[in-house]
Protein backbone atom coordinates (compact mmCIF):
# COMPACT_ATOMS: atom_id res chain seq x y z
CA UNK A 1 0.00 0.00 0.00
CA UNK A 2 1.32 3.43 -0.95
CA UNK A 3 2.07 5.48 2.11
CA UNK A 4 3.28 8.97 2.96
CA UNK A 5 5.92 9.45 5.61
CA UNK A 6 4.45 12.29 7.68
CA UNK A 7 6.61 14.53 9.84
CA UNK A 8 5.25 17.17 12.17
CA UNK A 9 7.70 19.67 13.60
CA UNK A 10 6.03 21.69 16.28
CA UNK A 11 8.33 23.64 18.54
CA UNK A 12 9.79 21.22 21.05
CA UNK A 13 7.88 18.24 19.71
CA UNK A 14 8.55 16.00 16.72
CA UNK A 15 6.03 13.46 15.45
CA UNK A 16 6.55 10.96 12.67
CA UNK A 17 3.94 8.71 11.11
CA UNK A 18 2.88 6.72 8.08
CA UNK A 19 -0.39 7.76 6.44
CA UNK A 20 -2.06 6.13 3.44
CA UNK A 21 -3.88 7.77 0.54
CA UNK A 22 -7.20 7.56 2.36
CA UNK A 23 -5.87 9.49 5.34
CA UNK A 24 -5.53 6.53 7.67
CA UNK A 25 -2.61 6.73 10.07
CA UNK A 26 -0.82 3.37 10.28
CA UNK A 27 2.21 4.20 12.38
CA UNK A 28 3.04 7.12 14.60
CA UNK A 29 5.40 8.14 17.30
CA UNK A 30 6.49 11.37 18.91
CA UNK A 31 9.65 12.55 20.65
CA UNK A 32 10.52 15.67 22.54
CA UNK A 33 14.16 16.61 22.17
CA UNK A 34 15.19 18.28 25.40
CA UNK A 35 16.37 21.68 24.44
CA UNK A 36 19.11 20.56 22.01
CA UNK A 37 18.54 22.33 18.71
CA UNK A 38 20.10 21.42 15.35
CA UNK A 39 22.39 18.38 15.57
CA UNK A 40 20.76 16.41 18.36
CA UNK A 41 17.27 17.12 17.08
CA UNK A 42 18.08 15.88 13.60
CA UNK A 43 19.55 12.64 14.95
CA UNK A 44 16.42 12.03 17.00
CA UNK A 45 14.23 12.72 14.00
CA UNK A 46 16.30 10.37 11.83
CA UNK A 47 16.00 7.55 14.38
CA UNK A 48 12.28 8.14 14.64
CA UNK A 49 11.96 7.99 10.85
CA UNK A 50 13.97 4.74 10.71
CA UNK A 51 11.65 3.04 13.21
CA UNK A 52 8.50 4.17 11.40
CA UNK A 53 9.93 3.14 8.03
CA UNK A 54 10.90 -0.32 9.17
CA UNK A 55 7.52 -0.96 10.81
CA UNK A 56 5.74 0.34 7.70
CA UNK A 57 7.78 -1.96 5.47
CA UNK A 58 7.09 -4.91 7.76
CA UNK A 59 3.36 -4.34 7.37
CA UNK A 60 3.57 -4.16 3.60
CA UNK A 61 3.52 -0.38 3.28
CA UNK A 62 5.57 1.37 0.63
CA UNK A 63 6.66 4.93 1.37
CA UNK A 64 6.40 6.99 -1.82
CA UNK A 65 6.53 10.55 -0.50
CA UNK A 66 7.42 12.53 2.62
CA UNK A 67 5.43 15.53 3.87
CA UNK A 68 6.57 17.93 6.59
CA UNK A 69 4.28 20.26 8.53
CA UNK A 70 6.28 23.05 10.12
CA UNK A 71 4.77 24.76 13.12
CA UNK A 72 6.12 26.22 16.28
CA UNK A 73 7.50 29.70 16.01
CA UNK A 74 6.29 32.57 13.95
CA UNK A 75 8.98 32.24 11.38
CA UNK A 76 8.35 30.18 8.31
CA UNK A 77 5.43 32.21 7.09
CA UNK A 78 7.72 35.15 7.20
CA UNK A 79 6.12 37.41 9.75
CA UNK A 80 9.45 38.40 11.21
CA UNK A 81 11.83 39.92 8.74
CA UNK A 82 15.17 38.18 9.29
CA UNK A 83 13.95 35.11 11.09
CA UNK A 84 11.59 34.32 8.25
CA UNK A 85 14.26 34.11 5.63
CA UNK A 86 16.71 32.26 7.84
CA UNK A 87 14.14 29.73 8.88
CA UNK A 88 12.93 29.12 5.35
CA UNK A 89 16.51 28.29 4.50
CA UNK A 90 16.70 25.98 7.48
CA UNK A 91 13.57 24.25 6.25
CA UNK A 92 15.12 23.91 2.80
CA UNK A 93 18.27 22.36 4.30
CA UNK A 94 16.18 19.94 6.33
CA UNK A 95 14.23 19.01 3.22
CA UNK A 96 17.48 18.30 1.37
CA UNK A 97 18.88 16.11 4.16
CA UNK A 98 15.65 14.16 4.54
CA UNK A 99 15.31 13.60 0.85
CA UNK A 100 18.72 11.89 0.89
CA UNK A 101 17.78 9.94 4.00
CA UNK A 102 14.40 8.62 2.86
CA UNK A 103 14.96 8.49 -0.90
CA UNK A 104 11.55 9.83 -1.88
CA UNK A 105 10.41 13.35 -2.78
CA UNK A 106 10.04 15.57 0.32
CA UNK A 107 7.58 18.46 0.52
CA UNK A 108 7.32 20.95 3.40
CA UNK A 109 4.77 23.61 4.23
CA UNK A 110 3.48 25.55 7.22
CA UNK A 111 1.16 23.92 9.70
CA UNK A 112 -1.58 26.40 8.76
CA UNK A 113 -1.54 25.46 5.11
CA UNK A 114 -1.20 21.80 6.01
CA UNK A 115 -4.17 22.19 8.34
CA UNK A 116 -6.26 23.52 5.45
CA UNK A 117 -5.23 20.56 3.29
CA UNK A 118 -6.06 18.12 6.08
CA UNK A 119 -9.47 19.66 6.76
CA UNK A 120 -10.28 19.51 3.05
CA UNK A 121 -9.12 15.91 2.87
CA UNK A 122 -10.69 14.22 5.90
CA UNK A 123 -12.00 17.07 8.08
CA UNK A 124 -14.73 19.68 8.26
CA UNK A 125 -14.20 20.84 4.67
CA UNK A 126 -14.12 17.38 3.12
CA UNK A 127 -15.40 17.61 -0.44
CA UNK A 128 -15.53 21.42 -0.33
CA UNK A 129 -13.79 23.30 -3.15
CA UNK A 130 -13.88 26.73 -1.55
CA UNK A 131 -12.95 27.33 2.08
CA UNK A 132 -10.49 29.02 4.39
CA UNK A 133 -9.01 27.25 7.39
CA UNK A 134 -7.24 28.85 10.34
CA UNK A 135 -5.35 27.60 13.36
CA UNK A 136 -5.52 29.95 16.33
CA UNK A 137 -2.82 29.37 18.93
CA UNK A 138 0.41 31.20 19.70
CA UNK A 139 0.15 32.43 16.13
CA UNK A 140 -2.74 32.54 13.70
CA UNK A 141 -2.02 30.57 10.58
CA UNK A 142 -4.15 29.34 7.76
CA UNK A 143 -4.66 28.28 4.21
CA UNK A 144 -7.15 29.24 1.51
CA UNK A 145 -8.63 26.72 -0.91
CA UNK A 146 -10.37 28.41 -3.85
CA UNK A 147 -11.66 26.73 -7.02
CA UNK A 148 -10.44 23.44 -5.60
CA UNK A 149 -6.80 24.34 -5.06
CA UNK A 150 -4.71 25.53 -2.12
CA UNK A 151 -3.52 28.99 -3.09
CA UNK A 152 0.26 29.48 -2.99
CA UNK A 153 0.88 33.14 -3.80
CA UNK A 154 4.18 34.73 -4.67
CA UNK A 155 6.21 33.15 -1.82
CA UNK A 156 4.04 30.13 -1.18
CA UNK A 157 2.66 31.83 1.93
CA UNK A 158 -0.94 32.50 0.83
CA UNK A 159 -3.58 31.91 3.48
CA UNK A 160 -2.11 34.25 6.07
CA UNK A 161 -5.44 35.15 7.59
CA UNK A 162 -3.60 36.05 10.79
CA UNK A 163 -2.50 39.24 9.08
CA UNK A 164 -5.87 40.38 7.86
CA UNK A 165 -6.68 43.62 9.64
CA UNK A 166 -9.60 43.33 12.05
CA UNK A 167 -9.09 46.38 14.27
CA UNK A 168 -7.77 49.60 12.72
CA UNK A 169 -5.13 51.05 15.05
CA UNK A 170 -5.36 47.93 17.19
CA UNK A 171 -2.53 46.15 18.99
CA UNK A 172 0.93 46.10 17.47
CA UNK A 173 1.56 42.83 15.65
CA UNK A 174 4.83 40.88 15.46
CA UNK A 175 4.75 41.68 11.74
CA UNK A 176 4.99 45.41 12.44
CA UNK A 177 1.44 46.33 11.48
CA UNK A 178 -1.43 47.09 13.83
CA UNK A 179 -4.71 45.32 14.43
CA UNK A 180 -3.93 42.08 12.60
CA UNK A 181 -6.11 39.14 13.64
CA UNK A 182 -3.03 37.50 15.16
CA UNK A 183 -2.16 40.54 17.27
CA UNK A 184 -5.70 40.47 18.73
CA UNK A 185 -6.52 36.79 19.27
CA UNK A 186 -3.29 34.80 19.61
CA UNK A 187 -2.77 33.20 23.02
CA UNK A 188 -0.21 35.84 23.94
CA UNK A 189 -2.47 38.67 22.79
CA UNK A 190 -5.41 37.34 24.79
CA UNK A 191 -3.33 36.92 27.93
CA UNK A 192 -1.64 40.28 27.74
CA UNK A 193 -4.78 42.23 26.84
CA UNK A 194 -6.96 40.57 29.47
CA UNK A 195 -4.32 40.10 32.17
CA UNK A 196 -5.56 36.53 32.68
CA UNK A 197 -4.31 33.13 31.60
CA UNK A 198 -5.87 31.70 28.44
CA UNK A 199 -7.69 29.08 30.46
CA UNK A 200 -9.37 31.57 32.82
CA UNK A 201 -11.13 33.96 30.48
CA UNK A 202 -14.15 36.07 31.22
CA UNK A 203 -17.22 35.52 29.07
CA UNK A 204 -16.55 38.87 27.39
CA UNK A 205 -13.00 37.86 26.47
CA UNK A 206 -14.26 34.70 24.77
CA UNK A 207 -16.96 36.65 22.92
CA UNK A 208 -14.50 39.31 21.79
CA UNK A 209 -12.04 36.71 20.47
CA UNK A 210 -14.90 35.03 18.62
CA UNK A 211 -16.10 38.30 17.16
CA UNK A 212 -12.67 39.17 15.75
CA UNK A 213 -12.17 35.68 14.33
CA UNK A 214 -15.60 36.06 12.74
CA UNK A 215 -14.58 39.42 11.30
CA UNK A 216 -11.54 37.94 9.58
CA UNK A 217 -13.61 34.96 8.46
CA UNK A 218 -16.21 37.31 6.99
CA UNK A 219 -13.47 39.18 5.14
CA UNK A 220 -12.22 35.93 3.64
CA UNK A 221 -15.76 34.84 2.73
CA UNK A 222 -16.44 38.13 0.95
CA UNK A 223 -13.09 38.53 -0.78
CA UNK A 224 -12.77 34.95 -1.97
CA UNK A 225 -16.40 33.84 -2.29
CA UNK A 226 -15.91 30.92 0.08
CA UNK A 227 -18.91 29.78 2.10
CA UNK A 228 -16.99 27.88 4.76
CA UNK A 229 -14.45 28.92 7.39
CA UNK A 230 -12.84 26.18 9.47
CA UNK A 231 -11.26 27.20 12.76
CA UNK A 232 -9.03 25.03 14.92
CA UNK A 233 -6.15 25.35 17.34
CA UNK A 234 -5.82 25.75 21.06
CA UNK A 235 -7.87 28.96 21.38
CA UNK A 236 -10.76 27.50 19.40
CA UNK A 237 -10.70 24.37 21.57
CA UNK A 238 -10.56 26.30 24.86
CA UNK A 239 -13.36 28.76 24.07
CA UNK A 240 -15.40 26.31 22.03
CA UNK A 241 -19.04 27.12 21.42
CA UNK A 242 -18.90 30.57 23.01
CA UNK A 243 -16.26 31.55 20.48
CA UNK A 244 -18.02 29.95 17.52
CA UNK A 245 -21.36 31.53 18.37
CA UNK A 246 -19.84 35.02 18.58
CA UNK A 247 -17.88 34.41 15.38
CA UNK A 248 -20.97 33.27 13.51
CA UNK A 249 -22.95 36.29 14.73
CA UNK A 250 -20.24 38.61 13.39
CA UNK A 251 -20.21 36.80 10.05
CA UNK A 252 -24.00 37.05 9.83
CA UNK A 253 -23.72 40.80 10.52
CA UNK A 254 -21.08 41.38 7.87
CA UNK A 255 -21.90 38.91 5.09
CA UNK A 256 -25.07 40.18 3.49
CA UNK A 257 -24.40 40.00 -0.22
CA UNK A 258 -26.36 37.42 -2.21
CA UNK A 259 -23.26 35.23 -2.55
CA UNK A 260 -21.66 35.49 0.89
CA UNK A 261 -24.84 35.41 2.95
CA UNK A 262 -24.99 32.21 4.92
CA UNK A 263 -21.22 31.75 5.21
CA UNK A 264 -20.49 29.42 8.13
CA UNK A 265 -17.68 29.03 10.59
CA UNK A 266 -17.17 25.55 11.95
CA UNK A 267 -14.81 23.75 14.24
CA UNK A 268 -11.92 21.67 12.88
CA UNK A 269 -12.72 17.99 12.46
CA UNK A 270 -9.56 16.28 11.23
CA UNK A 271 -9.20 13.22 13.45
CA UNK A 272 -6.23 12.82 15.75
CA UNK A 273 -3.29 12.87 15.12
CA UNK A 274 -4.32 15.81 12.95
CA UNK A 275 -0.78 17.18 12.65
CA UNK A 276 0.41 13.97 10.99
CA UNK A 277 -2.58 13.97 8.67
CA UNK A 278 -1.73 17.57 7.72
CA UNK A 279 1.86 16.58 7.07
CA UNK A 280 0.77 13.66 4.89
CA UNK A 281 -1.61 15.95 3.01
CA UNK A 282 1.34 18.25 2.26
CA UNK A 283 3.24 15.28 0.89
CA UNK A 284 0.40 13.94 -1.24
CA UNK A 285 -0.30 17.40 -2.64
CA UNK A 286 3.35 17.87 -3.54
CA UNK A 287 3.37 14.55 -5.33
CA UNK A 288 0.17 15.35 -7.21
CA UNK A 289 1.49 18.74 -8.31
CA UNK A 290 4.70 17.14 -9.51
CA UNK A 291 2.55 14.87 -11.66
CA UNK A 292 2.71 11.72 -9.50
Amino acid sequence: METALAIELEGARIAVGAVDRAGHVHESEAVEPNGERTGGTYELLAECIERVRSRTARHGGQIVVCGISIGGGDDLDGTTADGGVADSRAADRLRGRLSTLVGVPVYADTEGRGFALGEGWVGAAKGCNNFVAMLVGHTVRGGAVVDGRLLDGSLGAAGRIGHVMVEPDGRRCACGARGCLQSEVSIDAIESASGRPLTEPTYDVMRRVGQLIGRAGAAAATLLDVGLIVCGGRVAREYASTLFLAAQEEIDQLCRLPFDKGARIVSARTPSPSGLISAAAIGWRGLAMAGG
Binding site: T79, S154, A158, L224
Partner: protein, 304 residues
Protein backbone atom coordinates in the same frame (compact mmCIF):
# COMPACT_ATOMS: atom_id res chain seq x y z
CA UNK B 1 -14.70 25.14 -37.77
CA UNK B 2 -14.19 28.32 -39.73
CA UNK B 3 -11.98 28.84 -42.74
CA UNK B 4 -9.63 30.92 -40.62
CA UNK B 5 -9.15 27.97 -38.27
CA UNK B 6 -8.57 25.60 -41.14
CA UNK B 7 -5.88 27.89 -42.49
CA UNK B 8 -4.19 27.98 -39.10
CA UNK B 9 -5.07 31.64 -38.52
CA UNK B 10 -6.38 32.06 -35.00
CA UNK B 11 -9.86 33.47 -34.72
CA UNK B 12 -10.91 36.45 -32.67
CA UNK B 13 -12.95 36.85 -29.49
CA UNK B 14 -16.29 38.57 -29.52
CA UNK B 15 -15.86 40.65 -26.34
CA UNK B 16 -18.92 41.95 -24.51
CA UNK B 17 -19.01 44.44 -21.65
CA UNK B 18 -22.24 44.63 -19.64
CA UNK B 19 -22.15 47.85 -17.63
CA UNK B 20 -24.79 49.47 -15.49
CA UNK B 21 -25.51 52.18 -18.05
CA UNK B 22 -24.15 50.92 -21.35
CA UNK B 23 -23.41 47.80 -23.37
CA UNK B 24 -20.32 47.50 -25.53
CA UNK B 25 -19.07 44.80 -27.87
CA UNK B 26 -15.88 44.41 -29.87
CA UNK B 27 -14.04 41.99 -32.05
CA UNK B 28 -10.67 41.48 -30.38
CA UNK B 29 -7.74 39.93 -32.17
CA UNK B 30 -5.48 37.32 -30.53
CA UNK B 31 -2.91 40.02 -29.80
CA UNK B 32 -5.46 42.24 -28.08
CA UNK B 33 -6.27 44.66 -30.84
CA UNK B 34 -9.82 46.03 -30.79
CA UNK B 35 -10.72 45.46 -34.46
CA UNK B 36 -14.10 47.12 -34.17
CA UNK B 37 -16.09 48.49 -31.23
CA UNK B 38 -19.76 49.34 -30.90
CA UNK B 39 -21.64 50.68 -27.89
CA UNK B 40 -25.14 51.53 -26.85
CA UNK B 41 -26.44 53.27 -23.78
CA UNK B 42 -29.17 51.37 -21.95
CA UNK B 43 -32.18 52.52 -20.05
CA UNK B 44 -32.05 51.15 -16.51
CA UNK B 45 -35.84 50.85 -16.59
CA UNK B 46 -35.94 48.50 -19.60
CA UNK B 47 -37.36 45.01 -19.21
CA UNK B 48 -35.33 41.86 -19.77
CA UNK B 49 -36.14 41.36 -23.47
CA UNK B 50 -35.60 45.01 -24.37
CA UNK B 51 -32.19 44.90 -22.72
CA UNK B 52 -31.28 41.75 -24.59
CA UNK B 53 -32.46 43.24 -27.89
CA UNK B 54 -30.23 46.27 -27.25
CA UNK B 55 -27.29 43.96 -26.64
CA UNK B 56 -28.00 41.90 -29.75
CA UNK B 57 -28.16 45.06 -31.88
CA UNK B 58 -24.70 46.08 -30.67
CA UNK B 59 -23.32 42.59 -31.32
CA UNK B 60 -24.86 42.45 -34.79
CA UNK B 61 -23.05 45.64 -35.80
CA UNK B 62 -19.75 44.15 -34.65
CA UNK B 63 -20.37 40.88 -36.50
CA UNK B 64 -21.48 42.67 -39.67
CA UNK B 65 -18.18 44.52 -39.76
CA UNK B 66 -16.27 41.34 -38.97
CA UNK B 67 -17.76 39.45 -41.87
CA UNK B 68 -17.06 42.37 -44.25
CA UNK B 69 -13.36 42.18 -43.40
CA UNK B 70 -13.30 38.38 -43.38
CA UNK B 71 -12.82 37.80 -39.67
CA UNK B 72 -14.79 35.60 -37.32
CA UNK B 73 -15.06 34.98 -33.61
CA UNK B 74 -14.42 31.57 -32.12
CA UNK B 75 -15.67 32.32 -28.62
CA UNK B 76 -17.64 34.98 -26.78
CA UNK B 77 -16.02 36.58 -23.70
CA UNK B 78 -18.28 38.51 -21.32
CA UNK B 79 -17.42 40.86 -18.48
CA UNK B 80 -20.50 41.87 -16.54
CA UNK B 81 -21.54 43.93 -13.56
CA UNK B 82 -22.45 41.58 -10.73
CA UNK B 83 -23.60 39.64 -9.02
CA UNK B 84 -23.68 36.55 -11.20
CA UNK B 85 -23.59 32.78 -11.02
CA UNK B 86 -20.54 30.86 -12.27
CA UNK B 87 -19.47 31.67 -15.82
CA UNK B 88 -22.22 34.32 -16.10
CA UNK B 89 -24.88 31.63 -16.53
CA UNK B 90 -27.28 33.92 -14.68
CA UNK B 91 -26.61 37.64 -14.29
CA UNK B 92 -28.28 40.23 -12.06
CA UNK B 93 -26.46 43.55 -12.61
CA UNK B 94 -27.42 45.76 -9.67
CA UNK B 95 -28.16 48.79 -11.87
CA UNK B 96 -30.30 46.87 -14.37
CA UNK B 97 -33.34 45.66 -12.42
CA UNK B 98 -34.76 44.20 -15.65
CA UNK B 99 -32.14 41.48 -15.46
CA UNK B 100 -32.51 39.33 -12.38
CA UNK B 101 -31.07 35.87 -12.83
CA UNK B 102 -31.16 36.54 -16.56
CA UNK B 103 -29.75 33.49 -18.45
CA UNK B 104 -27.21 35.55 -20.38
CA UNK B 105 -24.87 32.70 -21.20
CA UNK B 106 -27.53 30.47 -22.76
CA UNK B 107 -29.22 33.31 -24.61
CA UNK B 108 -25.95 34.47 -26.17
CA UNK B 109 -24.97 30.92 -27.00
CA UNK B 110 -28.30 30.24 -28.75
CA UNK B 111 -28.16 33.49 -30.65
CA UNK B 112 -24.53 33.29 -31.74
CA UNK B 113 -23.86 29.57 -31.99
CA UNK B 114 -20.55 30.05 -30.17
CA UNK B 115 -19.22 28.99 -26.77
CA UNK B 116 -19.65 31.72 -24.15
CA UNK B 117 -17.37 32.40 -21.18
CA UNK B 118 -18.25 35.02 -18.60
CA UNK B 119 -16.89 36.67 -15.46
CA UNK B 120 -17.46 39.70 -13.29
CA UNK B 121 -16.35 42.94 -14.94
CA UNK B 122 -13.71 43.39 -12.24
CA UNK B 123 -12.45 39.84 -12.74
CA UNK B 124 -12.25 40.58 -16.46
CA UNK B 125 -10.28 43.72 -15.61
CA UNK B 126 -7.79 41.60 -13.69
CA UNK B 127 -7.34 39.20 -16.61
CA UNK B 128 -6.99 42.09 -19.06
CA UNK B 129 -4.45 43.93 -16.91
CA UNK B 130 -2.50 40.70 -16.50
CA UNK B 131 -2.53 40.12 -20.24
CA UNK B 132 -1.70 43.52 -21.68
CA UNK B 133 -1.86 46.07 -18.89
CA UNK B 134 -0.08 47.16 -15.71
CA UNK B 135 0.15 43.60 -14.32
CA UNK B 136 1.54 41.93 -17.45
CA UNK B 137 3.88 39.11 -16.50
CA UNK B 138 2.85 39.15 -12.81
CA UNK B 139 1.45 35.90 -11.42
CA UNK B 140 0.04 37.12 -8.10
CA UNK B 141 -1.85 40.39 -8.16
CA UNK B 142 -5.21 42.04 -7.79
CA UNK B 143 -7.00 44.56 -9.96
CA UNK B 144 -9.67 46.85 -8.61
CA UNK B 145 -11.97 49.67 -9.60
CA UNK B 146 -12.62 52.68 -7.38
CA UNK B 147 -15.42 54.54 -9.08
CA UNK B 148 -19.08 55.05 -8.17
CA UNK B 149 -18.69 51.57 -6.69
CA UNK B 150 -15.67 49.51 -5.62
CA UNK B 151 -14.84 46.01 -6.82
CA UNK B 152 -11.93 43.80 -7.70
CA UNK B 153 -10.53 40.56 -9.01
CA UNK B 154 -7.65 38.34 -7.86
CA UNK B 155 -5.12 36.41 -9.87
CA UNK B 156 -3.17 33.92 -7.74
CA UNK B 157 -0.57 31.49 -9.09
CA UNK B 158 -1.40 32.84 -12.54
CA UNK B 159 -5.08 31.95 -12.34
CA UNK B 160 -8.16 34.09 -11.85
CA UNK B 161 -10.03 33.20 -8.66
CA UNK B 162 -13.71 32.46 -9.24
CA UNK B 163 -14.94 31.23 -5.85
CA UNK B 164 -17.93 29.10 -4.93
CA UNK B 165 -20.47 31.12 -6.93
CA UNK B 166 -18.18 33.00 -9.32
CA UNK B 167 -18.04 36.16 -7.18
CA UNK B 168 -14.50 36.18 -5.77
CA UNK B 169 -12.94 39.64 -5.69
CA UNK B 170 -15.58 41.70 -3.90
CA UNK B 171 -13.07 43.91 -2.10
CA UNK B 172 -15.66 46.71 -1.99
CA UNK B 173 -17.26 44.88 0.91
CA UNK B 174 -14.14 44.37 2.97
CA UNK B 175 -14.74 46.21 6.26
CA UNK B 176 -12.23 49.04 6.63
CA UNK B 177 -14.04 50.97 9.38
CA UNK B 178 -15.73 48.54 11.79
CA UNK B 179 -19.12 49.99 12.68
CA UNK B 180 -18.68 52.71 10.04
CA UNK B 181 -21.08 54.06 7.43
CA UNK B 182 -24.04 51.95 6.34
CA UNK B 183 -23.42 50.10 3.10
CA UNK B 184 -26.00 49.25 0.45
CA UNK B 185 -25.21 45.59 1.13
CA UNK B 186 -26.65 45.89 4.65
CA UNK B 187 -23.33 45.79 6.47
CA UNK B 188 -21.34 48.75 7.87
CA UNK B 189 -17.96 50.26 7.16
CA UNK B 190 -17.37 48.45 3.86
CA UNK B 191 -14.71 50.00 1.62
CA UNK B 192 -17.46 50.86 -0.87
CA UNK B 193 -19.42 52.70 1.85
CA UNK B 194 -16.34 54.71 2.82
CA UNK B 195 -14.32 55.26 -0.34
CA UNK B 196 -16.53 55.05 -3.44
CA UNK B 197 -17.48 58.11 -5.45
CA UNK B 198 -21.01 57.69 -4.15
CA UNK B 199 -19.81 57.64 -0.53
CA UNK B 200 -17.54 60.65 -1.02
CA UNK B 201 -20.39 62.65 -2.55
CA UNK B 202 -22.67 61.67 0.33
CA UNK B 203 -20.09 62.64 2.94
CA UNK B 204 -18.97 65.93 1.40
CA UNK B 205 -22.00 67.09 -0.58
CA UNK B 206 -19.73 67.47 -3.61
CA UNK B 207 -18.63 65.16 -6.37
CA UNK B 208 -15.42 63.20 -5.90
CA UNK B 209 -13.81 65.40 -8.56
CA UNK B 210 -14.11 68.33 -6.14
CA UNK B 211 -12.87 66.46 -3.07
CA UNK B 212 -10.51 68.25 -0.68
CA UNK B 213 -6.93 66.94 -0.31
CA UNK B 214 -7.78 65.44 3.08
CA UNK B 215 -10.55 63.37 1.49
CA UNK B 216 -8.23 62.24 -1.30
CA UNK B 217 -5.70 61.13 1.32
CA UNK B 218 -8.36 59.37 3.44
CA UNK B 219 -9.72 57.53 0.41
CA UNK B 220 -6.23 56.38 -0.55
CA UNK B 221 -5.54 55.22 2.99
CA UNK B 222 -8.75 53.18 3.20
CA UNK B 223 -8.18 51.60 -0.20
CA UNK B 224 -4.63 50.78 0.92
CA UNK B 225 -5.99 49.24 4.10
CA UNK B 226 -8.28 46.84 2.22
CA UNK B 227 -5.58 46.04 -0.34
CA UNK B 228 -3.08 45.32 2.48
CA UNK B 229 -5.32 42.66 3.98
CA UNK B 230 -5.87 41.04 0.57
CA UNK B 231 -2.12 41.16 -0.13
CA UNK B 232 -1.38 39.51 3.23
CA UNK B 233 -4.12 36.91 2.85
CA UNK B 234 -3.19 35.92 -0.68
CA UNK B 235 0.55 36.69 -0.78
CA UNK B 236 0.24 39.13 -3.68
CA UNK B 237 2.92 41.46 -5.01
CA UNK B 238 0.89 44.03 -6.91
CA UNK B 239 -2.44 45.86 -6.93
CA UNK B 240 -3.51 47.82 -9.99
CA UNK B 241 -6.33 50.31 -9.59
CA UNK B 242 -8.70 51.65 -12.23
CA UNK B 243 -11.82 53.78 -11.93
CA UNK B 244 -12.67 57.45 -12.19
CA UNK B 245 -12.22 58.20 -8.50
CA UNK B 246 -8.78 56.62 -8.16
CA UNK B 247 -7.43 57.86 -11.47
CA UNK B 248 -9.03 61.29 -10.98
CA UNK B 249 -7.35 61.64 -7.58
CA UNK B 250 -4.07 60.51 -9.06
CA UNK B 251 -0.71 60.72 -7.31
CA UNK B 252 -1.80 61.83 -3.79
CA UNK B 253 -4.31 58.97 -3.70
CA UNK B 254 -1.73 56.39 -4.76
CA UNK B 255 0.88 57.78 -2.34
CA UNK B 256 -1.54 57.46 0.58
CA UNK B 257 -2.54 53.94 -0.48
CA UNK B 258 1.10 52.88 -0.83
CA UNK B 259 1.95 54.30 2.61
CA UNK B 260 -0.86 52.25 4.15
CA UNK B 261 0.31 49.17 2.29
CA UNK B 262 3.87 49.72 3.54
CA UNK B 263 2.58 49.99 7.12
CA UNK B 264 0.62 46.73 6.91
CA UNK B 265 2.62 44.38 4.72
CA UNK B 266 5.86 42.96 6.11
CA UNK B 267 6.18 39.56 4.56
CA UNK B 268 9.80 38.52 4.92
CA UNK B 269 11.64 37.94 1.70
CA UNK B 270 8.82 39.46 -0.30
CA UNK B 271 9.25 42.16 -2.83
CA UNK B 272 7.58 45.25 -1.37
CA UNK B 273 3.98 45.06 -2.58
CA UNK B 274 3.11 47.93 -4.90
CA UNK B 275 -0.15 49.69 -5.69
CA UNK B 276 -0.29 51.54 -8.99
CA UNK B 277 -2.72 52.77 -11.66
CA UNK B 278 -4.17 50.26 -14.09
CA UNK B 279 -2.75 50.43 -17.59
CA UNK B 280 -5.49 49.79 -20.12
CA UNK B 281 -7.62 52.90 -19.72
CA UNK B 282 -10.95 53.03 -21.54
CA UNK B 283 -10.36 49.81 -23.48
CA UNK B 284 -9.88 47.79 -20.27
CA UNK B 285 -13.43 46.35 -20.07
CA UNK B 286 -13.39 44.96 -23.61
CA UNK B 287 -9.81 43.71 -23.46
CA UNK B 288 -10.72 42.11 -20.14
CA UNK B 289 -13.80 40.46 -21.63
CA UNK B 290 -11.64 39.15 -24.47
CA UNK B 291 -9.18 37.77 -21.91
CA UNK B 292 -12.06 35.90 -20.26
CA UNK B 293 -12.73 34.28 -23.63
CA UNK B 294 -9.08 33.41 -24.25
CA UNK B 295 -8.71 31.93 -20.83
CA UNK B 296 -11.72 29.70 -21.38
CA UNK B 297 -10.34 28.55 -24.72
CA UNK B 298 -6.94 27.73 -23.29
CA UNK B 299 -8.26 25.93 -20.22
CA UNK B 300 -10.95 23.90 -21.99
CA UNK B 301 -8.90 22.74 -24.95
CA UNK B 302 -5.27 22.58 -23.88
CA UNK B 303 -4.38 20.56 -26.98
CA UNK B 304 -5.24 23.23 -29.50
Amino acid sequence: MTDADAAGVPGCVLAIDIGGSKFAAALVSPDGELVTVHKSSVDAGDDAETLFATLVAVIDRVLAYASRVGLSAEIVGVGTAGPLTPNAALVSPLNLPGWRDFPLRDRLGERLGLPVAGALDTQALALGEGWLGAAAGVKNFMAMVVSTGVGGGFVVDGELLHGASGNAGHIGHFVVVPGGRSCACGSRGCLEAEASGTAIAAMTGRSAAQAAPSMVERTGRLVGRAVASAVNLLDLELAVVAGSVALGFGEPFFAAAQAELDAHCHLAGAVRPVIRPAGLGASAPLIGAAAVGWQALSSESPDT
